[in-house]
Assembly symmetry: none
Homo-oligomer: 187 residues x 2
């Protein structure tokens, strides 16, 4: 029976990590044990009751709201030919700009280009080693930035990706990214 308990508790942890909103009663049904068993499990694992779990999630959110959001994958990739070419678009919103000037923060343009340079590489692991970048023109809220990446050199050691970002055909950003790939690296 020992295995059963540990297994159940492991499952319990995983289940509540995915969805902290489940009551003991529902859990008891899920695992086909009594409510008391679930409570003992929670006690052993130091897992608080539903209401406390929910409160915890809610509090974390309130904290997060102060430290503002952005997308993880910056921009949306609309075309991708591995090791050749890729295109992504990013709409600049109020979140991306300096509130005083309305001009997009440089690191968002960099993030879009860098993300694209990583995405284009057909490998388990791609890392930026070096980059030379130019900001040609300011970008304002409401504008749509189209970034195009081209692999210009792909030796065994490293891959060079050139990224050009435009707003309405006008170049706003250009970067040359030296990328390392997992099958070529020592570091």
């Amino acid at each position: 029976m020992k295995r059963k308990k540990k297994e159940r508790q492991q499952l319990l942890i995983e289940t509540l990590e995915k969805n902290p909103f489940i009551t003991d009663e529902a859990l008891a049904e899920m695992f086909d044990v009594s409510v008391q068993t679930i409570r003992l499990d929670r006690l052993e694992l130091s897992i608080p009751e539903v209401r406390e779990r929910i409160k915890h999630v809610a509090k974390e959110r309130l904290d997060e709201i102060k430290a503002l959001p952005l997308e993880e994958v910056i921009g949306e990739i609309i075309d991708l030919r591995l090791d050749q070419e890729a295109i992504s678009i990013m709409d600049i919103t109020e979140e991306h700009v300096f509130s005083r000037t309305g001009i997009a923060r440089g690191h968002y343009l960099f993030a879009q280009a860098n993300s694209l340079a990583v995405a284009i590489i057909d490998d388990e692991l791609a890392l930026t080693r070096k980059a030379t970048i130019h900001f040609h023109r300011q970008v304002k809220a409401g504008e749509r930035v189209v970034a195009k990446a081209i692999v210009t050199d792909s030796s065994a050691k490293q891959t060079v990706v050139e990224v050009t970002s435009k707003v309405n055909q006008e170049i706003v950003f250009h970067g040359e990214f030296m990328m390392y790939r997992s099958d070529s690296d020592t570091n």
Copy 2:
């Protein structure tokens, strides 16, 4: 008495918007009325009970988690001498890394450095014009990145900021940022 009620209800709404975690009992004390009055107010205003309010906040957060966050001001500036030197720290967490490899995405390191280069400039408007950056070492979750920016050249036309980021004295990132400032630019 009509004003008193409306006023209280308005205040109630505002109070709960700022902090949804307050119980009826605590509210009753705040407004110096009975708990029942608060409950009647909530009923009239269709405000759910604490536990439901908290649940709502928590659910919204779970939705947000899919569209991931990052800080607006990347890193925390701990020292700043305008046009001279500045230092910021950033703790790398799970949010900053590629889930497969645990290695921090390059644009976070860039964002920290770029933000610092912008902050160091004593001017209304500072923009990155060009940057040459090197990623010397991978940074993993749990590590603390300390970025130090130094203004190396400050002519009328442009300011050059060198940023060196370290983890435990070890250089992980270096960048040279050519910055334009508002009193020098045409664009």
